[in-house]
């Protein structure tokens, strides 16, 4: 189903619509077909206007079996269209989905337009010439449905046909069957067999800034951004990770990009992964490590070492539902506390968050810039939504990106490993292999002036402050906080971070269209905050912080600025609904 969704996404992008996607798949690997927990869903929202969310409510649901209907029915807007594979609504499947009676018969779908098509039978029919068994034949059902939907929305079949041919190059009968199914579904729409309730839609292309576009998932953008950032820094990169949902894909993607000279290392656990990354940075490469909440938790002690040793390091956290194993395949943004405060001792570091799939590219570059310029670990927060979701992206011209070559110390004269740049307070990076710079560093407190181990009380206080000042000083070297939409002061600021960008942005637009004054502020630099953030927010009468957690940014904002902050939270593992956001915003404006 995820592959089917990807094909529809591609065709939609090529047709010039803006879009956003939300793949939603089960924690079980291949849960028995027909069970509710085995439902794999793919949601896409596209249109002629700018699309910033996957949509609150589904207009068209294609349900391949009763379980899929059961799990997704709540999401369909009243009056929406539900296309079901009638052939799969047998007693067995109904029971598996825990339906007491057949929803196609018992009136429970009265609020919707329902189109019953026996896709199973039609698919079997369509692929008959290729001599597949029933089970294999039914594997082509998704393509049949895709063909129908292609027809409904006037999509071009060509790219998918090419893709099928390539994917099953060594199994021609499978390729042919799928193609036949796709074409049959399409033909079904086009011909008289089409049930009257199935309309053919024409969605005109959206308005886009001129340029070359592509579709991109957050994972791809992150991987590419890391390569780009390392190249801008002129560094080799050792990417060290231990598989964990939803972070693994980044490892997979980079493992497939070794042609760029990146080395990927699947370590024995998360601690070894960050350890190897720290070792790489010590050795003069860029160490990067990636995981999700529970794995990041395991890296806590080692992060302290990177802070103490003042080594550059990029740590990517694809957040997921928690606590503990929680909801591994669902998205959440609840690791902000952990990123900002989650270490023993005073161990400050920089925290960034990407706001959209494509934004992962620039945020990854920014993380590398800060890590190398300030000799510090940087935590970059992504999440399960960003990792999997995709959006069209106007491809930037990479030559417009300013390089920020990492500087290695070379001069033995007066060298000590904790010599600091007076402006950034970053210590020097002295690479093993350099003659005359042999030195020892570690986790024990070191003397400000000599870099040697020091247990001196005053020195420790001084070092504590210099570590804090260095990170605080990053605020001077990042852009001021901009207002994404709306005025720079006024009644209501809606402050977000991370992957809620799309829904918040859409909700604010709609509110503004309704004449309600609300501004949207979306924070990329979460620690330290941009220097003007406090002043900016003070210019609003109310500050509302919607989050997919229990109010973490709201708490941190309160702790840093003397302002009242309202928190709005939905911790459901799914993106915000515009409707809910608008309610909360309206309440805040009025309240």
């Amino acid at each position: 189903m995820q592959l089917t969704g990807a094909q529809f996404t591609l065709a939609t992008a090529l047709s010039g619509n803006d879009l956003a996607t939300f793949p939603d798949f089960p924690a079980e690997i291949r849960a028995p077909v027909g069970t509710t927990y085995g439902v794999s869903a793919f949601q896409i929202h596209f249109g002629a206007r700018a699309i910033r969310t996957v949509g609150d409510r589904v207009d068209v649901l294609v349900a391949m079996n009763p379980a899929a209907l059961k799990v997704n029915l709540d999401e369909v807007r009243k009056g929406g269209l539900i296309i079901v594979d009638e052939g799969s609504f047998g007693a067995k499947n109904l029971a598996k989905a825990h339906f007491q009676s057949n929803p196609l018969e018992d009136g429970s779908l009265d609020a919707f337009r329902v189109s019953r098509i026996d896709m199973s039978a039609l698919t079997i029919e369509a692929v008959k010439p290729f001599g597949l068994g029933r089970k294999d034949a039914l594997r082509c059902k998704n393509m049949w449905a895709l063909g129908l939907v292609f027809w409904m929305f006037g999509r071009d079949r060509e790219p998918t046909l090419a893709w099928l041919q390539q994917k099953f190059a060594d199994k021609p009968e499978v390729a042919e069957s799928n193609i036949a199914a796709l074409n049959a579904g399409h033909a079904f729409g086009e011909t008289a067999e089409m049930p009257s309730e199935l309309p053919a839609w024409t969605v005109p292309p959206a308005k886009f800034e001129p340029g070359l576009y592509r579709n991109i998932t957050g994972t791809e953008a992150m991987a590419w951004g890391l390569l780009a950032g390392a190249q801008l820094a002129g560094l080799g990169m050792l990417f060290c990770s231990y598989p964990i949902t939803p972070a693994s894909q980044l490892l997979h993607t980079l493992a497939g990009l070794k042609r760029f000279g990146v080395v990927t290392f699947q370590a024995e656990d998360e601690i070894a992964a960050i350890g190897a990354a720290i070792g790489a940075s010590f050795a003069g490469s860029l160490g990067v490590t990636s995981s999700s909440g529970p794995g990041i938790a395991l890296k806590t002690e080692s992060l302290g070492l990177a802070v103490a040793a003042e080594l550059p390091l990029v740590v990517i956290n694809s957040q997921r539902g928690g606590p503990s194993t929680g909801l591994p395949t669902k998205t959440e943004q609840s690791d902000l506390y952990q990123a900002v405060f989650g270490r023993n001792a005073d161990a400050p570091l920089a925290v960034l968050a990407a706001r959209s799939p494509a934004d992962c590219f620039d945020t990854a570059i920014e993380a590398i810039r800060i890590a190398t310029r300030f000799m510090t670990p940087v935590i970059l927060l992504s999440d399960g939504y960003l990792a999997n979701a995709s959006e069209p992206w106007r491809i930037p011209d990479f030559s417009t990106y300013e390089p920020f070559p990492a500087k290695f110390h070379g001069d033995p004269d007066g060298f000590q490993p904790f010599l600091r740049d007076p402006e950034t307070l970053a210590r020097v990076w002295a690479k093993p292999g350099t003659s005359g710079l042999e030195h020892r560093i570690g986790g024990i407190e070191r003397d400000y002036d000599t870099g040697d181990i020091s247990y001196d009380p005053i020195n420790h206080h001084r070092m504590t402050l210099v570590r804090a000042d260095k990170i605080a000083g990053i605020a001077r070297q990042i852009p001021e906080q901009a207002v994404d939409q709306g005025e720079a002061s006024g009644r209501l600021a809606v402050v977000g971070w991370g992957s809620t960008y799309g829904p918040i942005s859409r909700a604010v637009t709609e509110l503004r269209e309704e004449g309600i004054a609300a501004s949207h502020v979306h924070i990329r630099h979460l620690w330290p905050f941009p220097a003007n953030l406090g002043a900016l927010l003070s210019g609003f009468e109310r500050v509302l912080v919607p989050e997919k957690n229990n109010g973490q940014l709201a708490t941190i904002l309160r702790s840093q600025f003397q302002i009242e902050v309202e928190s709005f939270t939905r911790v459901t593992g799914r993106p915000f609904k515009i409707e809910n956001l608008k309610q909360a915003m309206t309440a805040a404006v009025e309240g």
Binding site: P210, L238, A276, R440
Partner: protein, 345 residues
């Protein structure tokens, strides 16, 4: 280096840093560092290419005392961090130093994984059968019944054998030595260093403060000859002051036995010959314990195989057409434009 003269040969002392050595007087670590510095000089290791990585513990203070690059990291993680150092720059000569707590208690997993991967590191485990730095608690190598601050009525766990564990983890170079044997130790260290893969050496190290004389049952001068066997590849497994004792295999029970050469019709031909490449022999040797058997010292096992970082470098070099280590290369613009793209006007 601005100076063009060929550098004079480095002496052991040239590998000593300017930091005061802070082990307890009489600690076995002093002997070990001496042997390491001698080994460095013997091999004329370039100081700037040499990196000592350690965890936490008395042993792990080691890097501070070496005038090379050094990274005193956190407890148990040195093998993982050293793996990163080596992967990032395979030209570096990377040593890992740790105690029995560091490498076998908290760090046992990382040790297992470097061993199985065969990362080209020289790993020295200073086994004093105790946690020195934290003031004397028993460790995973302590003998059952050890009374320590955390086991005032005696410890109950079976110890793990470092060498046996290394073999079980797929280690391909496993050696053993005694801290104070300054003649033998540098040779063993040299072999471990030269091994292209993980060269693992367990060094019996006396902690004079918390576990003094724990190895005296085989290191004391009066018992040493009869309780130590120094194995040499291709040589018969003989020991004793007069080298008149030997190890023989009982092929029926698959167990070793100590026999007196020259007695009961036993001659040297009956004695097993050491074969470094034989894992079964290595395990049999590693398992020997006094008083019934001598402790096996020297290179128990050495079976070369490609090292991990070499394969990694080769793989990435082949795919990138470049050199590793090197900066990330390749055409980012082309990457961004790969796959389906379209134009809006």
């Amino acid at each position: 280096m601005t100076d063009a003269k060929p550098p004079a040969a480095l002496q052991p002392k040239d590998y000593a840093s300017d930091q005061e050595v802070r082990w307890c007087p009489g600690c076995g670590d002093y002997a070990i560092i001496k042997a390491v510095q001698k080994t460095c000089a013997d091999l004329q290791l370039a100081r700037e290419r040499t990196v000592f990585v350690s965890g936490i513990g008395c042993a792990a203070r080691f890097p501070y005392y070496m005038d090379t690059y050094g990274f005193h990291t956190i407890h148990g993680r040195a093998p993982a961090i050293a793996t990163g150092v080596k992967l990032a720059n395979p030209d570096l000569d990377v040593w890992v130093i740790g105690g029995d707590g560091d490498l076998l208690s908290i760090g046992g997993n990382h040790l297992m994984h470097v061993l199985r991967r065969n990362v080209d590191l020289t790993v020295l485990l200073f086994n004093n059968e105790i946690y020195g730095l934290t003031k004397g608690q028993y460790s995973p190598t302590s003998r059952p019944g050890t009374r320590s601050p955390s086991t005032p009525t005696g410890s109950l766990d079976n110890p793990v054998s470092a060498a046996h564990f290394a073999l079980g983890s797929g280690g391909r170079f496993v050696a053993r030595a005694i801290d104070t044997q300054q003649k033998r130790l540098p040779d063993i260290l040299r072999r471990a260093h030269d091994f292209k893969g993980t060269g693992f050496v367990e060094i019996f190290q006396n902690c004079i403060v918390y576990n003094d004389a724990v190895f005296s049952d085989f290191t004391d001068r009066d018992v040493a000859d009869d309780r130590q066997i120094h194995v040499e590849h291709g040589e018969p497994l003989l020991f004793g002051r007069d080298r008149d004792k030997g190890l023989r295999l009982d092929a029926r029970t698959l167990r070793l036995e100590v026999v007196a050469v020259g007695k009961d019709g036993i001659d040297e031909a009956d004695i097993l010959v050491h074969d470094e490449e034989n894992p079964t022999l290595a395990a049999l040797l590693a398992a020997m314990e006094p008083p019934d058997f001598p402790v096996a010292l020297g290179i128990l096992y050495c079976a070369p195989a490609p090292s991990y970082e070499t394969q990694v470098s080769e793989q990435v070099a082949a795919l990138s057409g470049g050199q590793w280590p090197g900066a990330v290369s390749g055409d980012i613009d082309a990457l961004l434009r790969s796959g389906h793209t379209w134009t809006h006007r």
